[in-house]
């Protein structure tokens, strides 16, 4: 689910240009959003954000601010089934989008850029974990940079101990895969970023299997 007004997740999954209609656009215009979902070639189902005009976006954000549970309610309307995993790509925190996503999620992945400001921002972020599974994802990491070592030591020392830290390396293959309109794992199966994302995916699936009701 793309919950970012940039509306770019569809592009990453192979929809060009960005989809017109989606969750937000339908909500603002009062139309049904049940027809807006897309399916990518790899059978990933996407609920796009949809294009909004500037005025529409303000209205939508106001509505979200008034109803903190808005996203949670929408999600409850979807018949996901027991085995489905819904990934919400929320806009950068702090924002109403991130707050909505944090309120709705069973499990939180906090994605950080590999630099000091984003680390500090992440540490200052006000949100309550409520015992949910939670992991840090350090994006675009590059151990060749001299600052990188210090940053990681700092992170490990000050971030909560029971949350794992996943590292996704800065890898040109990611950009190349997007340009080639292919999923990363198909475009460059042996690249480091694929490996890192697979590790993250394995962790998520492990959580999912542990919490999903037995069939």
């Amino acid at each position: 689910m793309d919950f970012d007004p940039q509306n770019l997740l569809g592009v990453y999954l192979g929809a060009a240009p960005p989809p017109e209609h989606g969750l937000a656009s339908c909500a603002v215009r009062g139309t049904s959003w049940s027809e807006t979902a897309l399916i990518s070639e790899q059978q990933v189902r996407l609920l796009p954000h949809g294009k909004l005009s500037s005025a529409e976006r303000h209205r939508f954000e106001q509505e979200l601010a008034q109803q903190p549970q808005w996203l949670q309610q929408r999600l409850a309307q979807i018949d996901l089934g027991d085995t489905a995993v819904c990934l919400i790509d929320a806009a950068r925190a702090p924002s109403v989008y991130a707050e909505q996503a944090l309120a709705a999620a069973d499990c939180v992945l906090l994605v950080l850029g590999s630099d000091l400001p984003s680390f500090i921002a992440a540490r200052e972020l006000p949100w309550s974990r409520d015992g949910r599974p939670f992991a840090w994802v350090l994006n675009r990491a590059d151990p060749r940079r001299r600052l990188e070592q210090d940053l990681r030591v700092l992170m490990r020392a000050s971030l909560s101990e029971d949350a794992p830290l996943f590292v996704v390396h800065r890898d040109e293959s990611v950009a190349e895969a997007q340009a080639a309109d292919q999923p990363l794992a198909e475009y460059a199966p042996h690249c480091q970023a694929t490996f890192d994302l697979q590790a993250l995916g394995t962790w998520l699936l492990g959580l999912h299997h542990a919490t999903a009701p037995a069939a």
């Binding site: 060749r144 990188e148 990681r152 830290l165 890898d171 040109e172 042996h190 480091q192």
Partner: protein, 836 residues
């Protein structure tokens, strides 16, 4: 008259005519005439009839005379009535099914019981406050006296030849079974058997076989018996020393880091290049210990500016002194006056410690305030000359692995673990009490430990590899090092004899005594290598015994000793390798040990050089010449055995065969010795250490490939890619390895690419990067964890095969070298002639 009648009776029963020729008699003895049947013996008949009747009943055979009914009964289900088997048959059947299972369970139970037995002494010395086992002096001494008396009785009981053989046979069969049981108690049982067999042998030799003719055979015979008594004594001491190797584990440190003591790390160096010292220095600085409690000292006896600069740049203290008195020991003692730490960790400048060294070892010092020294193994990640020249690296345990795998762990039980000069920690106070590191001998390490023990301190041995270094490259270097040890041990034996003086327990005396006497093996080994020649050359009988009797006594002695040692040492030394190692060193060790015994204060310290390169294959003639001579002598001996066996000494064939077999065994050992002398070429100056870790390879275009490392050295890393990749020639890459939570990237260039394996040569690294590289490789806590995992347990038969093969290879190399030498000389001569 009687003969005639007997003949007639026999003829009648065999069915031949009395006048028939011998041929017919023989024929009739084996083949019956047609139509005649000879009855079975009555008991067999009864047994057969009973079995057949039982089978007919159980299988329900309708008509026992019809083969068809038998077949049906055997193959098909019983036809009509369902009758249970008779009780007897049922019992037999059950027994047959259950026997193996029952036996197996019993054996396993016995094994568990025996293994449970093992724990008792362990707990006392490894866990408890140290000396409980040794404190029961009265009980211990009583046991020793009783055991000795029993052994004496067992050894001196006269046996007939066949009795001796039968006892040996029983012992051998039981041993073959016992050696498979787990735990240490079966090993002790094998030791007991071996002691029994060997005590009988040496008693018999001393009492029955010394009636020699005077003159040459008396002198040589006495020499042989002296050599044999020496080996016997060493064997006995070895059994005491290695009876119960402790498997000491690390003790955890207190959680409160403030309770951890201060540690000084000493790295003495003299003439080694900076490249050798760097990794050790960086790894020592990277040890996991509170920063304010760890000080690293580089003790440079070479007083080199580059060393001073480097030490200061990377945060180590640099210490020099005005003279080089007492070499390494003096260097360490000087540093004792400079540093202040409570503990002192010593590393030779080429022994790279892993980061966990202090945390693994220091727990024992905090537990036992009397503990003055803790030693960890010396581990070598490059092959020593034996391993290199014979190609046995990581396949056959090397010479040192017996000492660090078994002997030190065995010493530990008796509180006599030795200090070995490196990879050890000493407590400052006791060390200063004995006046610092001992300087009287060239093996200052063992002598220091002896002095500590005399003061009543304890020492520990922790058999976990916590540091690794380079082995000596060439055979001459290796031999030089062993000569130094041998000479030093002989010096201690003369200057501070462990059997005399105060402060040691009986077992400490025995352990030290063995460690020192052990180095006198040179002369006895040479005696064994030449003893059979006395008979083969000059027909001198140096053992007064019939060959069969000698065999009946010497075989149990050798076989049981082999079985016991194979069980005790199996993981650390394979059968017959001790002979091979000793044979190589015997010639060189004989003279220094003898000289040191005569004048212990003569001679100087020689530094073992390491990190050299052997540019080409060559045969070390200088070092192998004594063995070439011995081979020649033994070969002539074997040749002489042929006419002796066939013409000259036909009346004592057994003696000839025995001596010839002995000579052949010697030839095999000498062949191995010569094989070691053929130095094989060593191409790489830095040795590759296998290591499999996830890594990432950064390509110049920004892509990153996930791969695994295969091996590393100080200069490079080899990685295995998941798929083949074309790399731009000579482009700058980065390889990143993670360690703990951090990930370190190192600039490198691809030098070789074979399939998916890429060899990366590291670019010049910054000091910080070098430190990180050491932390990711040599300094990893798990760097040497599985090093010996691939070395198989000893199999005496396989082992003798190996030694035979190496012996044969040695001869091939010797032959090739002889041919080469002759060709070279001829060429030279021709060139010289041409020049004229």
């Amino acid at each position: 008259m009687i003969g005639q009648r007997l003949r007639l009776a026999c003829a009648a029963s065999l069915g031949v005519a009395p006048q028939a020729p011998l041929r017919t008699w023989l024929l009739r003895l084996l083949v019956l005439p047609p139509g005649q049947e000879r009855a079975w013996p009555v008991p067999l008949q009864r047994l057969a009839a009973f079995s057949v009747a039982l089978l007919i009943r159980e299988l329900d055979v309708r008509n026992p005379r019809q083969p068809r009914d038998w077949l049906r009964a055997l193959l098909l289900q019983p036809s009509s009535q369902q009758r249970g088997p008779s009780p007897l048959a049922w019992l037999a059947l059950r027994l047959w099914q259950r026997l193996p299972q029952a036996l197996r369970t019993r054996i396993l139970l016995l094994g568990h019981r025996v293994a449970g037995f093992d724990v008792i002494p362990h707990l006392k010395r490894a866990e408890g406050s140290s000396h409980q086992l040794l404190d029961h002096r009265f009980a211990g001494n009583t046991l020793i006296v009783l055991g000795g008396a029993a052994l004496l009785v067992a050894a001196s009981t006269p046996f007939e030849l066949w009795q001796q053989l039968m006892v040996f046979l029983c012992m051998w069969v039981v041993s073959l079974y016992v050696r498979r049981l787990p735990g240490n108690a079966p090993a002790l049982m094998l030791v007991m058997f071996s002691l029994f067999a060997s005590a009988r042998y040496i008693w018999w030799r001393l009492t029955q076989t010394l009636g020699l003719q005077s003159g040459a055979s008396f002198t040589l015979g006495m020499g042989l018996i002296a050599a044999e008594s020496y080996t016997w004594l060493i064997m006995l001491l070895g059994y005491v020393q290695n009876a119960w190797p402790l498997q000491r584990r690390p003790l955890p440190l207190p959680l409160d880091v403030r309770l951890w003591p201060t540690v000084d790390v000493y790295i003495p160096t003299y003439n080694e290049p900076l490249g050798v010292v760097k990794p050790t220095l960086l790894a020592a600085l990277g040890l996991d210990w509170p920063r304010d409690k760890l000080n690293v000292y580089l003790l440079d006896d070479g007083r080199r500016d580059s060393f001073r600069r480097y030490a200061q740049e990377c945060g180590a203290h640099y210490v020099v002194r005005s003279d080089n008195a007492h070499a390494k020991a003096g260097n360490l003692n000087h540093a004792l006056g400079v540093s202040k730490g409570e503990f002192i960790a010593i590393f030779d400048c080429d022994h790279v410690p892993v980061r966990s060294f202090l945390q693994t070892t220091m727990g024992w010092f905090l537990k036992d305030p009397l503990c003055a020294m803790l030693q960890t193994p010396h581990h070598f990640f490059s092959p020593d000359p034996f391993e290199k020249n014979l190609g046995t690296f990581r396949r056959v345990p090397n010479e040192g692995s017996l000492f660090y795998g078994l002997v030190q762990a065995g010493n530990d039980l008796w509180n006599s673990a030795f200090f070995c000069g490196s990879c050890a920690i000493l407590r400052r106070a006791p060390l200063q009490q004995i006046g610092g590191i001992a300087v009287e001998t060239v093996t200052e390490d063992a002598h220091t430990a002896l002095k500590l023990h005399r003061r009543g301190y304890t020492t520990f041995y922790l058999g976990m590899i916590q540091a690794a270094g380079l082995a000596t490259e060439s055979l001459s270097g290796h031999v030089g090092q062993r000569i130094r040890w041998a000479r030093g041990m002989a010096q201690i034996f003369r200057l501070d004899n462990p059997f005399l003086g105060k402060g040691l327990t009986l077992f400490q005396r025995l352990c030290y005594g063995n460690a020192m006497l052990h180095f006198f093996y040179g002369l006895p080994r040479l005696v064994f290598l030449s003893a059979p020649l006395a008979y083969l050359y000059f027909e001198l009988h140096i053992i007064n015994a019939a060959a069969a009797t000698l065999a009946a006594y010497v075989l149990p002695h050798l076989v049981q000793a082999n079985l016991a040692n194979s069980r005790m040492q199996g993981r650390f030394r394979h059968s017959f390798w001790a002979e091979a190692y000793e044979t190589v060193l015997s010639w060189y060790i004989t003279l220094p040990t003898t000289l040191a015994m005569i004048n212990p204060r003569a001679g100087s310290f020689n530094v073992t050089s390491k990190g050299g390169l052997i540019q080409r294959n060559y045969f070390d003639w200088g070092i192998s010449m004594p063995y070439v001579v011995l081979i020649g002598m033994n070969l002539i001996g074997v040749l002489l055995a042929i006419p002796r066996l066939l013409y000259w000494n036909t009346y004592e064939g057994g003696t000839v065969v025995l001596n010839a077999a002995w000579t052949l065994f010697n030839l095999v050992m000498l062949g191995t010795a010569v094989g070691v002398a053929a130095e094989s070429r060593q191409i790489r100056s830095s040795h590759r250490v296998p290591l499999c870790l996830p890594a990432s390879l950064y390509l110049p275009d920004g892509r990153v490939v996930h791969c695994d490392t295969e091996d590393y050295s100080t200069g490079g890393i080899a990685v295995r890619l998941p798929s083949p990749l074309t790399l731009p020639q000579g482009a700058l890459l980065h390889v990143a390895i993670s360690r703990g939570g951090s990930e370190f990237a190192f600039p490198c260039r691809a030098v070789v690419a074979v399939d998916t394996r890429i060899g990366l040569r590291l670019e010049t690294l910054s000091d910080e990067q070098e430190k990180q590289l050491i932390a990711c490789t040599f300094g990893r806590a798990d760097a040497w964890l599985d090093w010996t995992a691939g070395i198989p347990q000893d199999q005496p038969i396989t082992s003798i095969g190996e030694v035979l093969a190496f012996g044969a290879r040695g001869y091939l190399q010797l032959a090739r070298s002889v041919v080469d030498a002759i060709t070279a000389r001829r060429l030279r001569r021709r060139n010289a002639a041409a020049a004229h």
